[in-house]
């Protein structure tokens, strides 16, 4: 379906508002055309020395009716445009929610934000004011021409003689302006690239004392930008007054030939005055025409950019969300191989089992593929069929939200929302009470910190609130994962920013709290692995060793080397 069609579907939802608005515009145009006509009658009456009182009254009534109709048209159409904006934005948001992490890896947040704000604003301009202008100017053109024709067809033709020239001139200048403003935009791009490069390279600029050279370089680009801007300004300075000049020519013709028509008695003086009035009605829509067309063009381009996002395929969702959580059970990886799009394999033939209620630690150097296990288990990325099982069922066959509700997942990058702590922790289920909040806060080792915050659990955090340290954020994220009491727990280097002593304390508390939960713990700190029932060592996506801590240590492989690294690090930290 084309972009315009997609937009039309949104517009059609509000067809009655648009229809009412168009009706109002017809009335408004009619009333406004009535005013010069009444002036004509009044002037002619004056010529006969007849009283003009009732014309005055009619004008007052027409003015009031015109104002009311004009208001009505704006409320209905611009209001409808705002509804369209509202609907598109809501649909866009709902769709964004359904898109998988792979999409967010591909797209930058800035670009998505720009589509959701700038492009939607352009769409509103099109669906609201743009449509008012489109309908309004067309009606004004037609109505005014009709009224002028009714007064004197020949004079109408003469008066309009310069207008084809106007169209030609506008067309030529539009092209010129477009070429020149493209040149200006290009130079602006160059200039902003220069500023960006300079600011990001500031340490080098400083180290090599390049300041003067940079200033000179920027100066050259800036001068070129000035030159191009002035080129555009010149074209516009010549073009814009041309519109006034040509419509002035129309007025001149009316003065001259219309005057002759009055002299010859073909038209009355009143008609002459009204004709002048109508001619001035034509000037504004002519000027606004270019603006309106550009507006429509821009709005459609923006809709295209929004449709691009709306057309991103959603991963398949089960027909009806299944509430509740899974029963507890084992987690199993069977000959799992996986690679991210456009990159080499992240995991190759990984097999191991976390027994029901057990704790398995996965260790390995950075980039070994540990995190991928958690992402696949929660289906943030789709694992191949028959490779990841939870409670004996392939995760791909489980309803997505049931799976995710059942797994408490704590990523290394603890993302928290700029809201009160309470809402962050009770994200999964805000029906839980303060008891639960206190309990999980204690387990996650954050309760002492929270007690020290100004508003306790109601403290707002983030950009517009309290800034938490990395360790605090991770502990809040841990509490959040524990809050709904899920049967499965995945901790992905979840305490990396918490200092070692505190981590140990939390792990002990956690050990008691997670009893009965099947837990998968990815960590580069081997202290935590010591506590596990079973340790899996991964390097470059492959399982290189697995077994109990003591056995692995004795084996003298990668695990024992990593253990030595940690020992050295601990010694250094305490030195």
């Amino acid at each position: 379906m084309s972009t315009a069609h997609r937009l039309l579907r949104y517009l059609l939802r509000y067809r009655w508002r648009y229809a009412a608005g168009a009706g109002c515009l017809v009335l408004a145009t009619g009333f406004s055309l009535g005013i010069p006509w009444t002036v004509k009658l009044a002037v002619d009456a004056l010529g006969r020395s007849a009283p003009v009182g009732r014309y005055v009254l009619i004008i007052l009534l027409l003015a009031a009716a015109h104002g009311a109709a004009r208001l009505g048209s704006r409320f209905t159409i611009i209001g409808a445009g705002q509804w369209v904006e509202h609907d598109v934005r809501a649909d866009l948001y709902a769709h964004l929610q359904a898109l998988p992490p792979a999409f967010y890896h591909r797209r930058r947040t800035g670009d998505l934000m720009s589509r959701a704000s700038n492009d939607i604003a352009a769409l509103r301009m099109l669906a609201g004011f743009g449509i008012v202008m489109l309908i309004g100017t067309s009606l004004t053109f037609l109505g005014t021409l009709g009224a002028m024709w009714a007064i004197d067809p020949w004079l109408t033709l003469y008066a309009l003689a310069p207008f084809p020239a106007l169209v030609l001139v506008a067309k030529r200048f539009n092209h010129d302006v477009e070429v020149r403003s493209t040149a200006v935009q290009e130079q602006l791009g160059t200039l902003s690239a220069k500023v960006q490069e300079n600011l990001s390279g500031m340490p080098v600029v400083r180290a090599y004392t390049m300041e003067e050279r940079e200033i000179a370089g920027f100066g050259r680009l800036n001068r070129e930008y000035l030159a191009r801007s002035l080129g555009l300004a010149r074209t516009q300075a010549v073009a814009w007054p041309m519109l006034g000049f040509i419509s002035g020519l129309g007025a001149l013709i009316v003065l001259w030939l219309g005057g002759k028509a009055v002299v010859d008695g073909r038209i009355t003086l009143g008609a002459f005055v009204a004709f002048n009035g109508y001619l001035s009605y034509l000037a504004w829509p002519t000027i606004a025409l270019g603006w309106t067309l550009a507006n429509v063009k821009r709005g459609l381009a923006s809709m295209q950019r929004i449709v691009e996002i709306l057309d991103e395929p959603e991963p398949p969702q089960p027909a009806r969300p299944a509430p509740g959580m899974l029963e507890t059970g084992p987690i199993e990886f069977r000959h799992l191989s996986f690679g991210y799009e456009g990159r080499g394999p992240a995991l190759s033939d990984v097999s191991f089992t976390v027994a029901e209620g057990g704790l398995v630690a996965v260790v390995g150097p950075t980039g070994s593929g540990k995190s991928t296990l958690g992402l696949l288990l929660c289906r943030l990325f789709e694992p191949p069929p028959g490779s990841v099982f939870i409670g004996g069922v392939d995760v791909r066959e489980l309803p997505l939200d049931r799976l995710r509700r059942s797994v408490g997942y704590v990523p290394q990058e603890a993302f928290l929302f700029s809201r009160p702590l309470r809402e962050n922790v009770l994200l999964a289920d805000d029906g839980l009470g303060d008891d639960r909040l206190e309990a999980v806060g204690r387990t996650a080792g954050i309760e002492a910190d929270v007690a020290a915050f100004p508003d306790g659990w109601d403290t707002v955090i983030g950009e517009r609130g309290l800034t938490l340290s990395g360790g605090q954020r991770q502990r809040v994220a841990l509490a959040r994962a524990l809050a709904a009491d899920p049967p499965f727990l995945v901790l992905d280097d979840a305490l990396a920013s918490v200092d070692a002593a505190k981590e140990w304390e939390i792990l002990l508390a956690l050990r008691a709290a997670v009893r009965g939960r099947t837990t998968l713990l990815m960590t580069h700190r081997l202290r935590a692995a010591e506590e596990a029932d079973h340790v899996v060592v991964i390097d470059q996506g492959r399982v290189v060793e697995q077994g109990r801590h003591a056995d692995l240590l004795a084996a003298g492989g990668l695990y024992s080397r990593l253990w030595r690294v940690q020992q050295l690090e601990d010694e250094l930290a305490n030195a």
């Binding site: 005013i35 002037v43 004056l46 010529g47 020395s49 003009v52 009254l57 004008i59 007052l60 003015a63 015109h66 104002g67 704006r74 409320f75 948001y93 709902a94 929610q97 898109l99 967010y104 947040t109 998505l112 934000m113 959701a116 704000s117 960006q196 300079n198 600011l199 500031m202 340490p203 080098v204 400083r206 180290a207 090599y208 300041e211 050279r213 200033i215 920027f218 000035l226 516009q236 300075a237 007054p241 041309m242 001259w256 005057g259 002299v263 003086l269 002459f272 943030l380 939200d401 995710r404 509700r405 797994v407 997942y409 700029s418 080397r561 690294v565 050295l568 690090e569 250094l572 030195a575």
Partner: protein, 593 residues
């Protein structure tokens, strides 16, 4: 509230004075456009008067040739008006664009003076907005703000004078509606402004929510909270729509109201003016001209609202621009000094840290009471567990930051007593990440010293850095364009170019932060040999990540917890079995096994 949400006054005398100051070099242009404006207004207001004469003197008297003369005159005014309008439009743009050009230059040059700590506090994106977008908003002052308000003032004054002159009674009748207009427009203007502010804050809130959602989408999905977040978003969205509609209500009412009052004025004119025509106190042409003048009287008043918004935005931008220009760099030259310390013939250390304390923020000490010295020609390797300490040492040597306490001395003189540029010519800092500018390879090699380096020097530096072969392999050699900061080069190639660049810069003292990124063995060998030539005979402080570097160093300083804890040669330190031996095992023993 975010600074992007604030909408202040539309006119701020203090800011206007400063902008006025920036127009000083272009006062001639400004004066010229001030001359053009009244002239254009005059011609514009002449036209209805010509129509009056045409009606009264010619049309009503059936004088066709006379009408031709008036028409000719009308044509002349049209032509003259066109010329004046062209001049006017171009002059205002010329002034505005030139002022913008100067402001951009001033901002950019000012940014070059700012210290490293300033850039830590101000993200690149926001500074770019200052230099590009905010400056652009100032232009609006010239094209559609002050200047066009000025034009409106001329028009209004002109219309009032002419109308009073033509028929003061009728003029006063027309103006009878002005108080209604001013009161009504003022009221709706205020309401429109408040409601517009409501739209902006709601939009900002909605966008902040959206941004956070986009960043935290994985969390929302993991906790299966799509429904709840969608409802929250929906409420923000609905709230915004309501605010927009309220704003439309006031905007549209204002617009329609002014138009209706304009039409009412026409009715009033017909009623009173018609009586005067009948009584013979006013001509037909006079009445028609009056109708036209009334029209021109109400137009500028109607458009005042749009100009108000433009002015407001321009004032906010001006505030931000001047705020930036008024921020003084924390690191400044000592005015009294200047000369580079003459050839190092003394016996004192080339670089010395004396009881240096330093923190980037508050009391989080990166260096605490750190002391060491480097003798002339010595190669010193800094090692230590990861942390800010080592890089900070290199930064303090070039005075990218100032010490919090203690002193850093270069050639026996406190770095704060050096001329900044001379210091940075003397001590070359080679950062870890190789930053290449867009431009040719040669531009990137010469950097600051375009005139002072001969082609031979460039060639020999390339050879010494083992980079000659890689440059020769580029299709256009030294003239090859490095697009987007050298993305078409590999890590190893970039490092070789950085070595050549440092050789050309040829500082007496080198502060070198070795890159950690691993490269292929062949490149590694080339880099190692190139680095050896770079540090040869040069006082060097190297943040070492290479085994070869620490083995070759004259002295190794072990930096830990902000202090030098051990010092000596590689073999000695290793034998003593202290911190260094553990670090060594960690970095070169186990980790790479």
């Amino acid at each position: 509230m975010h600074d992007d949400e604030i909408l202040g006054k539309a006119y701020d005398a203090r800011l206007m004075r400063r902008i006025w100051g920036h127009t000083r070099p272009h006062r001639g242009l400004l004066l010229l456009s001030l001359l053009v404006f009244p002239l254009a207004t005059l011609l514009e207001l002449l036209q209805p008067y010509l129509v009056k004469i045409a009606i009264d003197e010619h049309i009503l008297r059936r004088d066709w040739p006379g009408l031709g003369r008036i028409a000719l005159f009308f044509l002349l005014t049209l032509l003259a008006l066109y010329a004046l309008r062209v001049a006017q439009a171009y002059l205002t743009q010329l002034t505005g664009q030139r002022v913008m050009h100067d402001l951009r230059n001033a901002l950019f040059a000012h940014l070059q003076r700012m210290d490293a700590a300033f850039f830590d506090r101000h993200p690149v994106g926001r500074l770019m907005t200052r230099v590009l977008n905010d400056v652009e908003a100032i232009n609006e002052l010239f094209t559609s703000g002050v200047v066009s308000v000025l034009g409106d003032v001329f028009t209004l004054t002109g219309v009032v004078v002419i109308m009073l002159g033509m028929n003061w009674r009728l003029a006063l009748v027309t103006f009878a509606l002005v108080p209604v207009l001013v009161l009504g427009a003022g009221y709706f203007r205020l309401k429109a402004r408040d409601s517009y502010r409501g739209v902006r804050t709601r939009l900002a809130r909605l966008n902040a929510f959206l941004q956070e959602s986009l960043q935290g989408m994985a969390v929302i999905q993991l906790f299966a909270q799509e429904g709840r977040e969608r409802r929250l978003f929906g409420s923000f969205n609905a709230d915004l729509r309501r605010a927009q509609f309220r704003s439309t209500f006031y905007d549209a009412s204002l617009y329609a109201g002014v138009e209706a009052i304009g039409s009412a004025a026409v009715a009033l004119l017909l009623w009173y003016g018609g009586g005067q025509v009948v009584a013979g106190a006013l001509t037909f042409g006079g009445l028609v001209a009056f109708l036209e003048y009334t029209n021109r009287f109400f137009l500028p008043i109607r458009d005042l609202g749009a100009k108000y918004t433009v002015m407001q935005a321009a004032m906010v931008s001006a505030e931000r621009i001047f705020g930036l220009l008024d921020t003084e760099p924390a690191i400044l030259d000592r005015p009294a000094t200047g000369a580079i310390v003459s050839a190092p013939d003394g016996t004192g250390p080339a670089v010395e840290f004396r009881d240096v304390w330093f923190a980037y923020e508050d009391e989080q000490w990166v260096l605490q009471d750190c002391s060491f010295s480097v003798s002339r020609g010595q190669q010193v390797a800094l090692v230590g567990p990861t942390g800010e300490g080592k890089t900070t040492v290199a930064r303090l040597m070039t005075r990218a930051y100032d010490v919090t306490r203690g002193r850093v001395l270069v050639e026996g003189r406190d770095v704060r007593d050096w001329d900044l540029r001379a210091l940075r010519r003397h001590v070359g800092l080679i950062p870890q990440e190789v930053f290449l500018f867009s431009g040719t390879v040669e531009d990137n090699l010469r950097l600051g010293r375009d005139g002072a380096v001969t082609a031979d020097e460039v060639e020999s530096a390339l050879a010494a850095a083992n980079a000659a072969r890689l440059v020769a392999a580029l299709p256009r050699g030294l003239q090859e364009d490095l697009r987007e900061r050298g993305v078409n080069l590999s890590q190893g190639q970039r490092q070789l170019l950085a070595i050549a660049r440092a050789l050309i810069y040829n500082p007496r003292v080198l502060a070198l932060d070795e890159a950690t990124s691993s490269v292929d063995p062949e490149s590694e060998a080339l880099i190692r040999a190139g680095l050896a030539r770079l540090v040869e005979g040069r006082t060097s402080v190297i943040i070492a990540h290479r085994l070869s570097t620490i083995q070759r160093a004259d002295r190794i300083l072990v930096l830990h917890k902000g202090q030098v804890r051990e010092a000596g040669r590689h073999a000695e330190l290793l034998a003593s079995g202290g911190l260094y031996s553990r670090l060594y095992e960690l970095q070169f023993g186990l980790g790479r096994g």
